[in-house]
Structures are given as C-alpha cells and as structure tokens.
C-alpha cells in the first residue's frame, strides 16, 4: 500500500492543511506504515447490516424542535471569540471577485 508524496499533498488540500515538503515526505512513509497495519481488517468477511440485526435496531434520538434561548443571549460571547469581527458580523476574505 504505497502512498506517494503527491497523494499526501492532495490529502493536505482535501483537509485544508498547508504542508511543508519535509512534512509531506515524513507523512507519506508514516501513513503508508499505518495503512499497512490497519489493512488487516480487509480479511474480515461479512455484512455489517446482517451481523448487526441480532444486536437490535438503532433508533434516532431527536430533541423537540423548540427554541430554548433568548434571542441575542450568546451573540456577544460568540462574536468576542472571533478572530476578525465587524460590528455584529464575522469578517472573512472576499470570495467573489468582480470581473474576469
């Protein structure tokens, strides 16, 4: 199960982490070794749904859809934690550019 440095770079892109070249090299060796170890599960046969039947059905647990807070109760606390704030808004970089 070989993992190339290009694949690690791609995984970094998918998971939104900028990786250095040294990290990419180290992770490709380490992740390859870990994947080789965990791939032992491939030999286990069966179907999850069938095996699970004997253990009983799973049910979803949902809370009543009711408002339990007062409007604006947590606004200031949460805004204070934001790295970039403009008034009552969270500030982010522009993602739409005008013309091409």
């Amino acid at each position: 199960m070989s993992i190339t440095t290009e694949e690690v770079t791609h995984l970094g892109k998918l998971s939104r982490i900028a990786l250095t070249e040294a990290e990419t090299t180290a992770f490709s060796t380490e992740i390859e070794a870990i994947l080789e170890y965990v791939s032992t599960v491939a030999s286990i046969t069966g179907d999850n749904a069938t095996v699970g039947v004997a253990l009983g059905a799973r049910v979803n647990v949902l809370r009543e859809d009711v408002v339990t807070t007062v409007e604006g109760e947590h606004t200031e606390t949460l805004l204070t934690a934001m790295p970039h704030r403009q008034g009552n808004y969270m500030a982010v970089k522009k993602i739409l550019t005008g013309s091409k």
Binding site: L11, E23, I34, L35, V38, M82
Partner: protein
C-alpha cells in the same frame, strides 16, 4: 488522599476545605515545576470557594453537598465558562470557553472546587502526554518516564498528591492507561452514561469522560454525579436503556488468553496472574474465553478514530474562534491556520482519516472497520452470557521512558487492551494490580475489568472489594 477521607474530616471539623486547598496549592508550588501537570491554576477563586465551603461545613455538617470543598483538576479539553480550554493545542491556546460542560456544572453544583486545568496530548491524541503543544508532563513516580496519556496531566496531578481526583476523557484508553501508569483507579463509563456536551470532540462515537482517583469509591461518587441524561447530548442514555445487571457474591471472570499472547511484558503478565490468583482466593471463578475479533480491534480503531477526527477537527478553520493566520484568500486562511495550529500527530490523523473516508477506499477501510466493530459487539454479547466480567491487563507495559516510543505504531500498540472497550461502548475499570521493578523504581501496572453495557455500578462493587477493601 481520597475524597471520602477529606469529607469525613470536613464533617468532623478536624480539617477544612481551606486547609485542603492550601495543601493542594503548596504541592503544586513544590512539585509541579518538575512534573508539569497544570496548564493553569485558579488559586484566587479556589481560595474564595474554600472559605465559603469551610463556613458551610461549620453550619451544615453532614447535610453539605457531596463534593463540597473537594479540590479537583480538569483535563483541558473540558469546557469551563470563562477559562481557557486549549485541548493541548496551539490552535486553541487563547480560546476562552463560552459555556460550562454539563459535567462541570454538575460537579460544581455538588460543591467541587476546580483548582486548575491539566495538560494532555493535543486534542487527546496520544498515550504519553508528549504530544502536548505546551510541554511534556512527567510521571511523578519516576520523572524520566511518561505519566501515560492522553489524560496524563490528570493522572500526574492526582499521583503527585495535589488533588484527590481529576477528570479525564477516554477515547481509546486515555483515562485507564495513565491510571495504570500512575497507580490510580481509572474508569471509562458505558457510552452515553456521561454527557459529552462541552468536551472538545475527538471521536464522537468513542469519547467518554471519566475520573482518575485513589479509590474505587471515589470514582463511583464522581461518576454518579457526572452521569445521567442530558438534553444537550442526544447520545446520553436513560437508566433503563440496558438490562439491569444484578450484583452477586461471587462472579465469573473471563480471560481472553489468546489475546493476551500478543506482546505483553512478562512482568506485567506476572502481576496479572497474581491478580487472577487473588480473585480465585476471594471465591470468584476465572475461566478462559475466546475473543478472536478483539485482535482486529486495534486496526479497526485506527481507522474509525482518525475518520471521526478528520470530521470533528474540520471546525477549526481560523474563522470563528481560535488561531487565525492570514493569507491572500479565504482558502489560504484555512490552510495556514490549520498548518500553524495543529501538531504533527493531529495532522497525521486528519490526513489518515481523510484517506480512509475518500470514495475509492471507504469500503475497504471504514466499511470493514465498522464491520469489525459490529462483530466485536456480537462476540461480547455471546461471551457475557457465560461470564460476568472480562479481565485483561490495562496496558501491555508499565510507564515507558520519555522519548522511548518514537514510532507511531509502537505507541498505538499501548492501546491494544483498551480500544475494544471504546469500539463496543461497554464500561471498563482499571485498578492498580501490583508493581514491576525497573532500574530500582517500583512502577505500578493496572488490571482492567470490562463489563456489559450498563454494568458501571457492578464494576464499582467488585472494584471496591478487590482494591479499596484490600488497600485499607
């Protein structure tokens, strides 16, 4: 020092919460420079709360709440309103919690004094507390060795005598393994017994919070306060979710012999066998059992856990809270913030989780790992028809030296006996089983009792008989 001893003395008036808090602060001052357990100490508030508690004991006596005036330490991935919750990471270095975790408000309602926040492996990823972004916590019993992890700060705070108990979290053994390494009692409850509201999530289908204490009775007390239904965590269970497991005078213990054959230190095995003999001497029955699927548990865990990690840690984006590192566009803010904020082990697990969840590999890895998990549950439900408790060592070795386990897989192998418990959601208690000698130092090792779902209080009953009663 136990919670019950402190309370007895508070009620008798021979010792006060103020004296206990001063004693705790003095131990921290004398020893924490070399141990490095505490990330923050709340001395002023602790003293103020202790003064109130001292006065209350004088007037309320035995009617005082169960934890009144008891100093406790919290692992730093547990949110306490107004306090910094780093989760051991640079990305949350300055993050102030905006609310209390359910377990924190329950402990505080019962009168506990939170004296400080303790160190941990970053985002609870590790088994030694060497992965903290701040510093390495050392084992108070031998400073050249690790206290275990990821709740290593919690274990060290109790083992050095600063507090009678600390709260940790256990995703794959993170309470039980440090308890084993530091000679303490450590407990991982039935999944859903304790609310996860206000815990920094690692693997949501695996995480549970549990105490590290000097007695099983103290663990029982803390667990009974922290556990229970919580509307803020839909996975919390009701008292009737699982069948009642009744107490008996003598129990049948099952030992998975073949599973124990995999890389256990001979001295640890000797301590384990001595515990088996003690159980037999106490009138219990010990039989051999087969748990073939458990041997695949560690591999399944290192698929399921990173998969959940990669999803849970997607929330740290440099936008809403935590560290933010600028870049030319929005994407680079994400990428730069996460690059600067996460340490190597966290990045490794996020990348691994992203890989096993990617469309081409999902069935081969995540699908198979979930199958293993289901098969393990089926195996357990069959085994618990013939035995009451499964017995294993808690960890295959005693505390290792700092820097000794440099390769990720050898570190992961420390979790071999603890991860099956999280994967299946059953409760497990680690109690000190004995000591092994290493270079003239006696190092404790734990034994682990695993019970069926909902048997938490049964484990406490047996644990008290096999540990608390024998110690006194």
């Amino acid at each position: 020092m136990t919670i019950s001893d402190l309370r007895t003395q508070y009620i008798a008036g021979t010792y006060t919460p103020t004296q206990a808090v001063e004693a705790a602060l003095s131990v921290i001052e004398k020893r924490d420079g070399e141990v490095g357990a505490f990330l923050a100490v709340y001395a002023m508030e602790a003293r103020a709360q202790a003064a109130v508690a001292t006065a209350r004991f004088a007037s309320e006596g035995v009617l005082a709440p169960a934890l009144l005036g008891i100093p406790l330490a919290l692992k730093n991935n547990i949110l306490q309103k107004g306090k910094i919750a780093t989760a051991g990471s640079k990305i949350l270095e300055n993050y102030v919690a905006s609310y209390d975790a359910t377990l924190v408000s329950r402990l505080q309602t019962a009168g506990a004094i939170i004296i400080g926040a303790v160190n941990m492996d970053e985002f609870a990823m590790g088994g030694s507390t060497e992965n903290s972004a701040f510093w390495i916590t050392k084992n108070p019993l031998d400073l050249a060795r690790v206290p275990g992890g990821s709740s290593g700060g919690s274990a060290a705070a109790v083992a050095m005598g600063a507090v009678p108990a600390a709260i940790g979290t256990d995703t794959g053994g993170s309470v039980r393994q440090p308890a084993s390494y530091c000679g303490l009692v450590g407990f991982k409850p039935t999944y859903g017994a304790v609310s996860r509201y206000g815990l920094v999530a690692m693997g949501s289908s695996l995480d549970q919070a549990g105490p590290l204490t000097n007695s099983v009775a103290d663990t029982e007390l803390l667990h009974s306060i922290m556990s229970g239904l919580d509307p803020m965590d839909a996975t919390t269970i009701a008292p009737d979710t699982y069948p009642v497991v009744s107490e008996k005078t003598h129990y049948t213990f099952g030992v998975p012999r073949a599973f124990l054959g995999t890389g256990v230190d001979p001295d640890v095995l000797a301590v384990f066998e001595a515990h088996v003999a003690e159980l037999k001497a106490a009138g219990h029955t010990v039989v051999d059992i087969e748990l073939p699927m458990f041997e695949a548990g560690l591999a399944a865990y290192y698929i399921v856990m990173p998969a959940e990690v990669s999803s849970n840690l997607a929330r740290f984006d440099g936008i809403r809270y935590g560290l933010s590192v600028d870049g030319p566009d929005l994407l680079s803010v994400y990428e730069n913030s996460r690059a600067a904020g996460f340490g190597a082990e966290v990045k490794r697990r996020i990348l691994l989780g992203t890989y096993v969840l990617s469309s081409g590999y999902y069935d081969a890895f995540y699908g198979k790992a979930e199958l293993v998990r289901t098969k393990m549950r089926a195996e357990l439900s069959a085994v618990f028809k013939t035995v009451d408790i499964i017995l294993t060592p808690t960890a295959p070795t005693p505390a290792f030296k700092i820097g000794e386990q440099s390769d990720p897989i050898s570190m992961y192998r420390q979790d071999i006996f603890t991860v099956p418990v999280n994967l299946t959601g059953v409760p497990a208690l680690s109690i000190p089983g004995g000591v092994v000698e290493r270079e003239g130092v006696s190092l404790p090792v734990g034994v682990q009792y695993i019970g069926p779902h909902g048997s938490d209080f049964l484990l406490f009953a047996i644990g008290k008989a096999m540990y608390d009663d024998k110690k006194n």
